[in-house]
Symmetry: C2
Subunit: 214 residues, 2 copies
């Protein structure tokens, strides 16, 4: 017997209404009504909206994955610990920022320079980096990750000097890029009383996953 | 000449006041005043507060990294694409959930079973997994990641059956665990019109980072 065509074509969940209930300067609180896969309406999912991305912007922000290369073959990942008012602690992150005017790579280069003092030699989006959702269960915020290659032997990168805005409070540090990446990072985090982010822990997990799956 | 003692001891940024300006059922909007490293007060940083973690809870939620092992040596990562009302799309994630009663591992085992149908053989927190911040630039939300090992040849895991709540809409899929992890995942994401998360992209980056740094 033929299957009912309506059963064949699975209904996909979708938004049916969005109401703003609080509007701040940077973020809004919205309530979303959506239709689930069975066709029922689910009411008032609480979400956070980042103020709109302008038409000339690809996403809300940009994250920079900075790799320092030295002539002698050493490779280091350059990270920051950023004071974050919502958690009242310094958290481990990539250099990053909200997008201003200009394109993604320009913004990435400038954020890297301001937050760490380092100047990138080459900066690029990998072959694969779609729009990334930071926390889609509660917000519509988006970012992209770019890779920055830094020549660690260059004069301008010997004594890098940060250029922070008043509200920014940022430590910088490097982590050796080798098989002990998670262990290397753990040591720095514990010694400095930093807090870990899901993003950086996911990077560590990626590093370790082939080993873990043995 | 001696350095000024006040210059020696670097002031660390810290919260000085938090006001709630909107209270929803699950999340609140707060304004945080903090003192920066130069001693200045910065006003009204907008943040999102998850309703309080109870004293018997370690964190707000739990993320499960599920590795399926087969007798013939194949290894797969089990992922989900979850309909997320804030972005009106299905996003690629680990099985995960907010913590109910009970401990972290119990919650993880139950979420895995409900969202994917799979039963874990072994479930554990790695030697290193501190409290993780999901998006500390705008919220105080916390999670931990646990690793779940699944025996893919077991009867109960041959035709796994989800047990979803009304508001949940979840596809499940597996990704081969090998050097082509990012490529494998990309194919699935593009074919199904899923959206990527920063978390999953970070996992891919971790996989690729040693190669990228050559």
């Amino acid at each position: 017997m033929d299957q009912n065509p309506q059963e064949k074509a699975k209904i996909r969940a979708k938004q049916v209404d969005v109401k703003t209930v609080y509007e701040g300067k940077w973020i809004k609180m919205n309530l979303v009504d959506f239709q689930n896969e069975k066709g029922h309406i689910c009411k008032a999912w609480e979400m956070v909206e980042r103020q709109g991305v302008r038409p000339d912007q690809e996403c809300n922000g940009v994250d920079v994955c900075p790799i320092i290369k030295y002539k002698d073959g050493r490779r280091k990942l350059l990270l920051i610990a950023n004071y974050r008012p919502p958690v009242n602690a310094y958290t481990v992150e990539f250099p990053a920022g909200l997008l201003d005017d200009g394109d993604l790579l320009e913004n990435a280069r400038r954020e890297l320079k301001e937050e760490t003092g380092y100047t990138a030699d080459e900066i690029k989006v990998l072959d694969y980096c779609p729009l990334l959702r930071t926390d889609p269960w509660k917000s519509n915020e988006t970012t992209k990750v770019v890779i920055a290659y830094i020549d660690g032997d260059k004069e301008c990168n010997i004594n890098p000097k940060q250029d922070l805005e008043t509200e920014e409070n940022i430590d910088i540090f490097t982590v050796d890029l080798n098989e002990k990446f998670m262990e290397n990072l753990r040591k720095i985090v514990e010694e400095n009383n930093y807090q870990m982010t899901l993003q950086m822990y996911s990077l560590c997990l990626g590093f370790s996953l082939l080993g873990l799956s043995q």
